[in-house]
């Protein structure tokens, strides 16, 4: 057997290339991405609407306006009620489960693609990075849409309860009230929702992506979904 040049080490892809590949993929798979993202959108919409609604009530109570519905004394005492905390926790759980599930499906249906990329010289780390990038974008975009929907819902409810006063006292920015109650403000809630959606999407896809990337290409490409 003749002496041959030794096999070199595969190089890492520049981050920009990974970014471009993931964007291209998202663009072409747009319709599909929307479906995956719907889980995130719903969860974050729920979370943001409950939370914003709460902020609105708090803000208007601080301003001395009473809701037509809420019992003023009780609300003023408690600030944020246990019922609302419960709702927020519930909506968070809905978020986590929905996102983890949609990410698992999104990765599974792309096993073949993963196997193919590895045939062409992709490192395991690249495959994982690609999925984390894609799911991060998806998570952020889906959560942003969800947050806006949630905001809209809370505003509609607020208008019903407080009328146009709502806009006068709208808790957009963080505020510290005289009685010590602190308000996060709607802007921060939306930002928080977006980041949460992004992080949950990345966490949800990391395990399946890592598992898929580890598979030998032959096995990954066999999988028919």
């Amino acid at each position: 057997m003749q002496q041959q040049t030794p096999i070199e080490e595969q190089i890492d892809l520049p981050f920009v290339e990974s970014l471009r590949i993931s964007f291209q993929s998202l663009k072409i798979r747009f319709g599909r991405s929307i479906i995956t993202t719907a889980g995130i959108t719903l969860g974050i919409a729920f979370l943001v609407s409950v939370w914003t609604n709460n902020e609105i009530e708090l803000a208007l109570q601080e301003s001395g306006r009473s809701s037509a519905i809420t019992n003023l004394d009780e609300a003023a005492e408690q600030g944020i009620s246990t019922k609302d905390i419960w709702l927020i926790i519930m909506s968070l759980i809905v978020c986590v489960v929905g996102i983890a599930n949609s990410m698992l499906m999104a990765v599974t249906e792309r096993f073949r693609e993963i196997g193919t990329m590895k045939c062409l010289g992709a490192l395991d780390g690249f495959v994982v990075r690609l999925f984390l990038l894609e799911s991060g974008f998806q998570g952020f975009a889906g959560a942003l849409i969800g947050a806006l929907i949630g905001l809209l819902g809370a505003v509609v409810l607020g208008l019903k309860n407080y009328g146009l006063d709502l806009f006068f006292y709208f808790p957009l920015l963080p505020a510290q009230h005289e009685n010590g109650a602190f308000q996060l403000g709607v802007l921060l809630i939306i930002l928080f929702g977006c980041i949460l959606g992004m992080i949950l999407a990345i966490i949800g896809s990391s395990f399946p992506a890592w598992r898929a990337a580890k598979l030998p290409p032959a096995e990954a490409m066999r999988t028919e979904v």
Partner: protein
């Protein structure tokens, strides 16, 4: 001294499914010379794809060794295996395995992106390769917009992106009609004779017979026999008579 590109030593592959063990390869020993056109023939389930995967470093053998260019594949690191797949081998599959999210051109550039080739250079090369396989006017179409034969041409162009010394093809014509299949075979043969690429193709397409230098008959995970070109030609005459 013959220049051996691929050598397998007692390669065994077992698949474990629950308590069952299926021995898909039962000790394969073959040597393939540089520049040869080899067909792995055998009925469905005989182990052709499994052997294809072992030679292409797409899976690991349960026992035995595979040497490519004199390198023992089981001694390679992750990064070396990725580089090996990227530079040394071009893969062609029965079901094309194009990335549906990338255009024909995008599919051909991907292995060059992995190889770190600058953008301008890889774009030009992809155009050149797609021209060569006859898809100059379809470069920016997505795979979904192409026929089976056209998709396989894209796959061939992609397989050649990093100038591999070996092209591995697993039943490249199985999903194609006779005429398209013939065109694909001719294209692969042209690479073999024109550029000296070693071609190893699993197939049960008899059209492959007359382009092959040697045929390795696989049956139940074993090499049943190896036929040379001159032995084949007589049989091709017979086959031709039947068609």
């Amino acid at each position: 001294m013959p220049d051996i590109v691929v050598k397998t030593e007692d390669v065994v592959k077992e698949y474990r499914m629950g308590s069952n063990v299926l021995r898909a390869l039962d000790g394969i020993n073959i040597e393939i010379e540089r520049g040869e056109y080899i067909s792995l023939m055998g009925p469905s389930g005989s182990g052709k794809s499994t052997l294809f995967n072992m030679i292409g470093a797409l899976d690991r053998p349960t026992e035995g060794e595979v040497y490519i260019d004199g390198q023992n594949m089981s001694h390679l690191s992750q990064r070396q295996i990725a580089a090996f797949r990227c530079h040394r081998v071009g893969y062609i599959f029965q079901s094309y395995n194009l990335l549906n999210v990338r255009t024909a051109h995008g599919n051909v550039t991907l292995p060059m992106i992995f190889a770190g080739i600058p953008e301008k250079e890889r774009n030009e090369k992809a155009e050149k390769l797609l021209d060569m396989v006859g898809l100059g006017d379809r470069m920016y179409h997505l795979p979904d917009e192409l026929s089976g034969g056209q998709r396989q041409r894209v796959a061939i162009a992609r397989a050649l992106a990093n100038d591999p010394s070996i092209v591995l093809a697993d039943e490249p014509t199985a999903n194609l009609d006779t005429i398209t299949g013939r065109e694909i075979i001719d294209l692969i043969k042209k690479l073999n004779t024109g550029q000296g690429v070693t071609v190893i193709s699993a197939t049960h397409d008899l059209k492959m017979l007359d382009v092959s230098d040697r045929i390795v008959d696989i049956r139940d995970g074993l090499v049943e026999r190896i036929r040379n070109r001159d032995e084949i030609e007589i049989e091709v005459g017979e086959v031709g008579g039947h068609e």
